[in-house]
């Protein structure tokens, strides 16, 4: 396989973007990424999107986006893996370039969630329709079960869960693309409207519109483009039971563990080598489980680790410097690529106030459903 680098990044602001349609969002992010890369063409494209059909009644968005980007007749297709659609689009593009079939590939993600659709229903299609959704459970309900189990098994407190939201909002305040760039306090989180006990609304990622794109290319091309070369040194993906109840231990996200192991192995790295990570904090408890399952802290200690500030920008392992899904926003299909945008900024040293000092190796972790799919990438700045 060839060595590959991220050569261009671009994203829209995340939020309730009433003036922009699905295609407007994608084209804006794609044009920014192409401009950032300074390339004059792309060879193919992958568009990550969870369910544009349910959100805005539009399928076939590979061709649609190629058309509106003015990129037709390049090959284009949509990649779907629920909320990990963006990360999986990167993985698909990665293999196309690594194989030598294509040189310059655009990988993107987009979701237009605020357009009148029943969002809770659309998102719930990522759970098991026959065994979970049929019983009336929604994603906040599933993650609340995980939270209760984690609290029971490891003594994790609600205050520790709230610390995830407080920290991510603190980071998001410094991100001009964030949907909710405001500080929140632990008390506000704990006293907010309960969505699914114990999770309050300030522990649930929002409903967002947005798009993010990245251009990837072989390292030889990257070196000619004049920007810091950000190599993708590892990719890993894994699956788990789609239904939460089928797992032996619901506090462990096995797909996260497996995808991380594969990516670490390929990269020749260990959790301690990572300088910062963007992870899938769709709910506060998700970030706690993920940092444990990625190996940043011991199983069961994620709450305490977060509460002590070890995942803050100047902590041991800064997590979600972008604000994460909670503060930056979570247009589901775009999230995986927005994570790539953040780590690329960090490794280039252009993350402004959010900059992690001397960042050289970064990790992204993007997840679908209640952890039935997970995809991890590891990036390294070429020195």
């Amino acid at each position: 396989m060839r060595d590959i680098a991220v050569v261009g990044i671009g994203m829209t602001k995340f939020g309730e973007l009433w003036q922009q349609s699905l295609r407007d969002l994608f084209v804006e992010a794609a044009m920014k990424a192409i401009d950032d890369a300074g390339v004059d063409h792309i060879d193919s494209m992958y568009v990550g999107s969870m369910t544009p059909g349910l959100f805005v009644g539009q399928e076939h968005i590979g061709a649609l986006m190629a058309d509106y980007l003015g990129a037709a007749p390049v090959p284009a297709m949509r990649v779907e893996s629920a909320c990990s659609s963006g990360g999986m689009a990167l993985r698909a593009g990665f293999f196309e370039v690594a194989s030598g079939y294509s040189d310059i590939v655009l990988v993107g993600g987009v979701e237009k969630m605020n357009d009148g659709a029943d969002v809770t229903y659309a998102l719930a299609t990522a759970a098991d329709q026959e065994y979970e959704v049929y019983q009336g459970v929604t994603f906040p309900g599933l993650y609340a079960l995980i939270a209760r189990a984690h609290m029971h098994a490891y003594g994790t407190t609600h205050e520790q869960l709230a610390a995830v939201s407080v920290k991510n909002h603190k980071h998001g305040m410094m991100n001009p693309n964030a949907q909710f760039p405001r500080e929140i306090t632990r008390d506000q989180v704990l006293k907010a409207t309960v969505i699914a006990d114990p999770l309050t609304i300030l522990e649930c990622s929002p409903v967002s519109d947005g798009a993010a794109c990245a251009i990837i290319a072989p390292i030889e091309i990257a070196k000619k483009l004049g920007k810091p070369v950000i190599k993708i040194i590892g990719t890993g993906a894994a699956t788990d039971t789609i239904a939460l109840h089928a797992r032996a231990d619901i506090t462990t996200l096995n797909a996260v563990k497996q995808s991380a192991m594969a990516a670490f192995k390929m990269a020749g790295k260990q959790p301690k080598d990572i300088d910062l990570a963007e992870v899938h904090d769709c709910f506060s408890i998700a970030e706690i489980c993920i940092i444990e399952d990625l190996g940043f802290t011991e199983k069961g200690k994620g709450g305490e680790f977060t509460e002590k500030g070890h995942t803050g920008i100047s902590g041991q392992i800064p997590v979600n410097t972008s604000g994460g899904l909670k503060s930056k926003g979570h247009p589901v299909g775009a999230t995986g690529i927005a994570q790539v945008v953040e780590v690329t900024e960090q490794l280039r040293g252009t993350a402004g106030k959010r900059q992690v000092k001397d960042a050289k190796v970064a990790l992204t972790q993007n997840m679908g459903g209640s952890g039935a799919s997970s995809v991890v990438h590891i990036f390294q700045k070429e020195v």
Partner: protein, 348 residues
């Protein structure tokens, strides 16, 4: 110069508190009260509807105007709860007031802006000398589906304004309307309850139109927010009007007298007109008042009024809004509320 020669309002005496509705649906009352800035809302009695509310409000307006009802040449009622789909509310009201038969009547509908539409047209006819007096009424027994966020706000009440050229209480200095096709809230023929686009009703609907109309009328008249003694904005909840007012440069004190939504709820077509009525109750001669309505679909009507010396003569001739709001109230539990609002299905 044309303007208002008489104004009056009416609110039912029945109330239901946010806590009672929240309890019914397992919602957190503290969070709802904080989020919507509402405490309670008016509920129409079993024999009250848009017509009876309009009659009561109009009678109060006539008391203040002191004119013979028969001289009213046009009467318009804006509402989204006209009792009949076909057959006007206005004819019943005009008959009850003694305005018939030499009168032009129409019922208006434009979601929550229908009341200011009635005022807008009534003012225009008087200004054009087509009629001597014209009455514009905004009244509603608002609908909100059980369990929906609207149930916390949808309430009942209304206000009536008589426009004329003599003995004016508040002159109309400017008007401005701002309208686009924005489907944020609607009720189809035959449906019991309105549907809405959730958060779409905020930024692209309410704020775009209120701020669009507000900004334009200030510019058009060469006004600054500080020129006004008071400002009234449509009140779908407690938070929206304060946010919109602040964006236009108004201070909370300027909005306070007309910000009656925490105790009244959202009387839809009667909302901003009743806030304006409450403001006239406390206004002084020469005060400037800005009124901006909002109706889903969507549009805003804006008016700039200048209060005259006559306000001091007419103010006490009818009940004031604050007294209706804070006077004798009968609190309903959810079961009684369901009965009063006809939510209990009977065989006949």
């Amino acid at each position: 110069m044309a303007g208002i020669v008489g104004y009056g309002s009416y609110l039912p005496r029945y109330r239901i508190k946010v806590e009672e509705i929240a309890h019914q649906w397992g919602r957190d009352a503290v969070a709802v009260k904080r989020g919507l800035m509402l405490q309670e809302k008016t509920v129409p009695g079993m024999d009250e509807d848009t017509i009876t509310i309009s009659v009561e409000a109009a009678r109060n307006a006539l008391k203040r105007a002191g004119i013979p009802p028969s001289e009213i040449g046009a009467l318009y009622i804006g509402s989204e709860s006209h009792p009949y789909a076909v057959k006007p509310s206005g004819t019943v009201v005009a008959e009850a007031l003694g305005v018939v038969p030499e009168v032009h009547i129409a019922d208006f509908e434009f979601a929550c802006k229908a009341g200011t539409e009635a005022m807008f047209v009534a003012h225009a006819l008087v200004k054009a000398d087509l009629v001597k007096y014209a009455m514009g009424i905004g009244a509603d027994t608002s609908q909100g589906a059980p369990g929906d966020a609207l149930e916390f706000s949808a309430s009942a009440g209304g206000s009536a304004f008589i426009f004329g050229k003599d003995d004016i209480v508040a002159e109309v200095l400017n008007t401005y309307s701002y309208t686009t096709d924005t489907p944020d809230f609607w009720r189809r023929e035959g449906a019991f309850y309105p549907l809405h686009g959730g958060r779409f009703t905020g930024e692209p609907a309410y704020f775009k139109h209120i701020l669009g109309a507000g900004t334009a009328i200030l510019e058009k008249g060469g006004y600054k927010a500080s020129d006004f003694a008071f400002a009234v904005f449509h009140m779908p909840n407690g938070k929206f009007p304060l946010t919109a007012g602040k964006k236009l440069g108004f201070k909370q004190e300027q909005m306070e007298p007309g910000w009656i939504v925490p105790l009244m709820g959202n009387t839809y077509s009667g909302s901003s007109p009743t806030g304006f009525s409450a403001t006239l109750d406390v206004a002084k001669p020469d005060d400037l008042i800005l009124l901006v309505s909002f109706g889903s679909g969507a549009g805003s009507d804006a008016f700039v009024f200048r209060v005259t010396d006559r306000i001091n003569e007419v103010r006490d001739k009818a009940d004031k809004l604050k007294d209706m709001l804070e006077g004798e109230r009968f609190y309903l539990d959810y079961g009684e509320y369901a009965k009063y609002r006809g939510k209990i299905i009977m065989n006949d």
